[in-house]
Symmetry: C2
Subunit: 192 residues, 2 copies
DNA sequence: TTCATTTATTGAACTTGTTCAATGTTTTGA
DNA sequence: TCAAAACATTGAACAAGTTCAATAAATGAA
């Protein structure tokens, strides 16, 4: 059940078997069926999650009712609202399963326990947060500098398997364009 | 010389006087005159810096020659190219002083030393990276959902003192619009 | 002070992307 | 399996933002 998690952790840092087991035992599995929510706006995010099966989208609904996708998370990805989780304040995000999914969840209390009792866990999350940080910076620059066509093409190239599992509506909400316009981009690309 | 740094650190975590001194002693001061560079594209970022005086901009130049500002850093802000620094690869960014400035720099080696010898430093950087992470997420959502007028108004409200020290060219490069269009936004706002 | 450089403003033509409404296609669940 | 719902495409009118070129204003270095 936690093999994928183990592998993922060892990808970031080195941990002894004992430390690994101790850390992994803090997680609880949860199933989330397609279209169901792991979290909704207004709730305080009580977990940090690791996706073992399926696909989620983390998104925001703005004051005009439009959805913006912050990120997608498939197997082997971490998922949370770091702001809500860390600062214990109401979330502005929704986390929804786009397929029948499974996640391993760790509570704030258990994560604190890990920080205090398995020193390397501090490093694990520092390293992971750093990696996400780098990706977010990249995305900001791309959003500022690239045209929608380019961002769409880049998205397909960067996440070819994710792309196949997503509708155009979802991709448009990630790219920050209307789905009608995405449709026109697709036509333009296809006609080449 | 390191009072501001000390204060900043204690704002994130608690450290003993001894730990603080030990950590602060790893920094070297550097002056950077207006328009001079702390780092340029292609270089490997050798430092993590803390601004004690002045103002910097961290920016990227895209393939069409346009500049995008990733962030500004004034006194009491940290500054680095985390990707280049962490992964020791050539940077895609420029870091330039917009005023006569001073920074405290720590090298990768000394930062590693701190990680290994002052356990709480791991936490310091995890917490700081987390905070930046939250701000970056916020900015991505704003860039996706808000119109340029709104982003400009928000910028002024969020960073009123920074705003006064920046030219409209710099602000436009941060907002991701042409400076001509920013000028038109300003006119529209003023006429109300 | 002065002159060169950088920054800011403006208008006109253009490009990119949105909105709305209609239509067709695919998926899904009872 | 079949109707409803969700998804995708298209065109036309519109809005947001860019580009280019000209001019004005502010700044800075000698």
């Amino acid at each position: 059940m936690t093999e994928l998690l183990t592998k993922n952790i060892l990808n970031h840092i080195t941990l002894s078997k004992k430390e690994l087991e101790s850390f992994c035992s803090l997680f609880n599995q949860k199933e989330v069926r397609k279209k169901h929510f792991l979290m909704q706006e207004g709730e305080i995010c009580k977990f940090e999650g690791f996706v073992t099966k399926g696909l989620f989208r983390v998104y925001h609904i703005d004051s005009n009712g439009f959805e913006q996708v912050l990120y997608f998370a498939k197997e082997n990805w971490w998922i949370t609202d770091i702001d809500s989780f860390t600062n214990e304040k109401p979330s502005q995000l929704y986390i929804q399963a786009l397929e029948d999914s499974e996640v391993l969840l760790i509570s704030k209390k258990d994560k604190e326990f890990a920080y205090n009792n398995i020193p390397k866990i501090e490093k694990l999350f520092r390293v992971m947060t750093q990696k996400t940080h780098i990706a977010l910076q990249r995305r900001i620059i791309d959003n500022l500098s690239k045209t929608a066509d380019r961002r769409y093409i880049d998205f397909i190239e960067k996440y070819p398997n994710l792309f196949q599992r997503l509708t155009n509506l979802q991709i448009a909400a990630y790219l920050g364009i209307s789905h009608e316009f995405l449709s026109k981009i697709r036509r333009k690309i296809a006609s080449k």
